[in-house]
Symmetry: C2
DNA sequence: CGAAATCGATAGCGGTCGCTACAGAAAGGG
DNA sequence: CCCTTTCTGTAGCGACCGCTATCGATTTCG
């Protein structure tokens, strides 16, 4: 009895189900995605979903973690890998144009859009914190470049970070309004002209 | 019987009710605002609301018209009044920072945020068209300036218009995430550096 | 082989959604 | 005055929401 689980084994792939759920939440947002939407697109009954994931909220939390590790880390990676904040943001904006319009998944950034207009303040707060954490990541990297002289000494790090975040959020919105990758790349190029 | 209406007069101010409804939709979006939310914040019963406005969708349509004439025209006005597209966008971004954070009403732009994550594709489409119409307004004004030489001949009008729209959408989002007027003004200032 | 454990499907819980039937209240017309 | 017209309040419709009790099916352990 030391070994694995007893009883009837689960008849579906939990990770694949998480993936389907992510697509649904990404497409329609947290609140507009109903349990029947989820069970239908995963292909299981409601009790199986609750047994595997707890409830809608916990499922969404898991989805956010998976999303973060798969699509949300490109900014942090670029900030860590590129030699300057400028180079990192250049890469981030270009990659965002690509990722936000990748036909392999819904358009835009799930963290930006999924909790807009939700009545669950907890869910909204959770994603808002993720966005603000990203802003702080930008700000710290910029501040570091100011310290080394890679950026002008009078640079307003907080404002520059917020500007970059606003452009990213705008690009996410534009992709959901139908902008193509090329159009978003042009936006990115233009946005970079405002960088020192 | 030629003269005015017969029967019991309406016991509430229709325009004031529209205003309350606008605030509610602006704050929570189209779908997350329920009929009970609306009747509660207006202070009337459901049948009165339906008698006065038809249904939720028609009420929202009226709200969008009122919103457009009161808060949505500042961009068009600036584009028409200012001598150049550059000056107009400068004014638009600064005014957006002010309007999006005005404590007299909910933050951000209702046309940008109210129909995100809604299951009603019609409502989403209606606001999307308003946003795209604004983009075209920008593009036309930019094209005119390119024709007169006020902007460089090689300016990509469409890309510049989309960049400006993305910044505005990003600013709207940031205001809903808690950004202050001063912070948005700094974003606007920075964004203008990308303009030719 | 049972026995114990876990899963899945049916069916349905209480609650809220957008919306409305109905009856009484409040106005003008004769 | 009574009659017609229009509005308001109560009360509730069918549909869907998130979620779960129940029970037969399917698996491992002894």
């Amino acid at each position: 009895m030391v070994t694995g689980q007893r009883g009837r084994p689960r008849s579906f792939d939990r990770d694949a189900a998480l993936d389907k759920a992510m697509t649904a939440f990404w497409e329609r947002g947290y609140e507009a995605t109903s349990i029947s939407d989820l069970t239908a697109s995963i292909g299981i009954g409601a009790p199986s979903l609750y047994a595997a994931f707890g409830d809608k909220r916990k499922l969404f939390d898991e989805v956010v973690v998976v999303y973060g590790s798969r699509y949300g880390e490109f900014a942090g990676v670029a900030l860590a890998e590129e030699p300057t904040a400028r180079a990192a943001v250049e890469r981030i904006l270009r990659e965002a144009a690509e990722i936000y319009t990748d036909p392999a998944h819904p358009p835009g950034c799930m963290v930006i859009s999924a909790a807009i207009n939700t009545t669950s303040e907890e869910v909204a707060q959770a994603l808002r914190e993720r966005r603000n954490a990203n802003l702080e990541l930008f700000e710290r990297r910029i501040r570091a470049d100011v310290a080394t002289g890679a950026l002008p000494a009078d640079t307003d790090a907080r404002a520059l970070a917020r500007y970059t975040g606003a452009v990213l959020q705008g690009m996410s919105q534009q992709s959901r309004d139908g902008a193509t990758r090329e159009e978003l790349e042009a936006v990115a190029e233009r946005a970079l002209l405002a960088w020192p």
